[in-house]
């Protein structure tokens, strides 16, 4: 899976309440509506800055906090193609894979700046920064995770295969 877009930078420990504020999270199950409020407490204009295919790039422990999968779903519906971070909180990691939002763990995520043009090969974990002409390596996701992502999430994977294929 190859992805292309520009970077939107955030810091460490971006919690699920920042990703989608609690005041919206419980009001609606309409993901496209939720998507318009992604990261709003950190950057009120975030949604309008995103072009389909862009990346969120963050520091460590991205997505800590709640288990509510509205967080990765709202990011996915905001047309972000993948989140690149130094590390992820584990429930967010699971929810992202299971709902089909690609994520990459990259220890050098700090080398990417706001607005950098990136190209990402999900299966190899290669990130090419076209702005800086630099290659970064992300941790390779296990093949089963790539498959779930390519198929759109865990539910879709199970429907297609009738089971989980490790």
């Amino acid at each position: 899976m190859n992805l292309k877009g520009k970077a939107h930078k955030f810091g460490d420990s971006i919690n699920t309440d920042y990703i989608i504020s609690g005041k919206y999270k419980f009001k609606t199950l309409d993901m496209d509506e939720l998507a318009t409020h992604v990261m709003e407490d950190l950057d009120p204009d975030f949604c309008s800055k995103v072009t389909a295919g862009d990346f969120i790039v963050a520091g460590k422990n991205f997505g800590l906090g709640s288990s509510r999968e509205q967080a990765p779903l709202a990011i996915k519906h905001a047309k972000i193609s993948a989140v690149i971070a130094r590390s992820f909180a584990r429930i967010f990691f699971r929810n992202a894979i299971n709902t089909g939002l690609p994520i990459l763990i990259c220890r050098d995520a700090d080398r990417i700046d706001e607005g950098d043009e990136l190209e990402v090969d999900l299966s190899s974990g290669l990130i090419i920064n076209r702005t800086k002409e630099e290659e970064l390596k992300a941790e390779k996701l296990p093949p089963i995770m790539i498959r779930i992502l390519e198929e759109g999430g865990l539910a879709e994977h199970l429907i297609r295969h009738g089971g989980f294929e490790v």
Partner: protein, 417 residues
């Protein structure tokens, strides 16, 4: 080399040796969802077109019930409708229920050696009774409804040992805050925490539950405390079905082992905006608007007793609201029997029925801009209990009660000479 608790759980369930980092699929004993995470799970479940594994599913509305407003009423109704449609035996209506994690333990779903998942991040609480339990999302909860199993990454394990005698007015809450303050909010990321030592052995189960509850605030997948006679006694007459305790091998391989002298830990407070901003309660001195006692972290009968001991014969300070929310109907009933509710009422505290309520900024005590709360809950993120310009200080039940009396964050040892 022997196996850690987590490795052993997955080894026993897959019937083969497993390595940390490996992805395995494993049978799950129970899957729990609440009124916030349930509705997306029900939607995903309908897509799967399967029959539910009725006896494994536990549905507990707790976040916004009794219904806060119309959207929450619709969510709660979808849960009731789902339970009715599929004739699920384990749905707990508000009048018999309470905060989901408290109920899971009280109603005997949790037992040593069981593997339990829940669509709520504080599902890790059940490790206090020797279970492997962890929070998951809604979509995957739906797949467990249908299949009774789920994928897991086998975690690495760390060990935390507390030695010595726990001090006066010091709780499990303080021990886990000590760890989080030490290792940070990602200090146990993806990992299994095993907590033990002679200080833990002396602790009541309620304190152990607070410790396990907040392991997610250090990023952990689960937290395990070896089950002992206190656990067996608690489960007697309560546990559903049989169980087989699982213990780590004495020669298990740990990524890290940390040791603490429990006698040196004072009542602590986590300052805004992370549970890792830990300081002795005696050094904070911040004026408060609200004192909140409740939640899956510290809403148990032992917590209410500790707060009542301080509030007996005293009044909540003028200008402060104190809110007491028992974690379940059983806790509420017991508190009535022990006359604790009367003590709270006499002190001018407000008492409500069980709900998650204000812990997550839902209702029943949300904060206005600039307001400060001391709270027995588990998170103090920006806007967690209300407006984004409000502040939450996390503390044990005795600190909450002592602070309510003085009007500023207070070490209970100052009030109870």
């Amino acid at each position: 080399m022997g196996s850690s608790f987590a490795e052993k759980i997955f080894r026993l369930r897959t019937g083969r040796s497993v390595e940390p980092g490996e992805i395995v699929e494993s049978e799950v004993d129970f899957v729990m969802a609440n009124d916030v995470t349930g509705p997306p799970a029900f939607e995903a479940f309908e897509k799967l077109g399967a029959e539910p594994m009725r006896d494994k599913i536990v549905l507990i509305p707790d976040h916004y019930v009794p219904n806060k407003d119309i959207p929450s009423a619709i969510q709660a109704k979808s849960m009731r409708d789902f339970a009715r449609k599929y004739e699920l035996p384990n749905y707990f209506e508000i009048g018999e229920g309470g905060v989901c994690h408290q109920l899971m333990m009280e109603r005997g779903f949790v037992a040593p050696g069981r593997l339990i998942v829940g669509a709520d991040s504080h599902t890790c609480t059940y490790g206090a009774l020797g279970a492997f339990s962890t929070g998951i999302g809604s979509t995957e909860a739906a797949t467990v409804f249908a299949r009774g199993k789920l994928w897991f990454k086998v975690p690495k394990s760390d060990k935390y040992l507390f030695h010595g005698k726990v001090g006066r007015h010091v709780f499990g809450k303080d021990l886990i805050l000590r760890i989080i303050g030490d290792i940070g909010v990602d200090g146990a990321l993806y990992k299994s925490m095993e907590v033990g030592g002679n200080a833990i052995e002396t602790l009541p189960l309620s304190d152990r539950m607070s410790i396990a509850n907040m392991s997610i605030e250090a990023g952990a997948k689960n937290l395990f405390i070896a089950p002992d006679k206190k656990v067996t006694d608690f489960l007697a007459g309560r546990v559903n079905g049989g169980y087989e305790p699982v213990l780590p091998d004495p020669d298990a391989d740990y990524d890290d082992i940390k040791e603490y002298d429990a006698s040196e830990i004072p009542p602590l407070v986590a300052e805004p905006y992370l549970p890792s901003n830990v300081k002795p309660a005696a050094e904070v001195g911040v004026t408060i608007d609200q004192a909140y006692l409740g939640s899956c972290t510290n809403g148990r009968i032992e917590d209410l007793r500790a707060a009542a001991e301080i509030l007996r014969g005293r009044k909540v300070a003028s200008g402060v609201r104190m809110i007491v929310v028992p974690a379940s109907k059983q806790v509420f009933e017991q508190a009535i029997k022990e006359n604790l509710i009367q003590i709270f009422l006499d002190a001018n505290a407000y008492v409500s029925g069980p709900t998650c309520g204000a812990c997550l900024g839902g209702y029943m005590g949300v904060l206005a801009p600039g307001e400060v709360a001391v709270s027995s809950t588990n998170r103090n993120f920006v806007g967690r209990m209300g407006h984004k310009d409000s502040k939450v200080y996390l503390a044990n039940p005795a600190v909450v009660a002592a602070s309510a009396v003085t009007g500023r964050i207070t070490d209970p040892n100052e009030v109870m000479i």
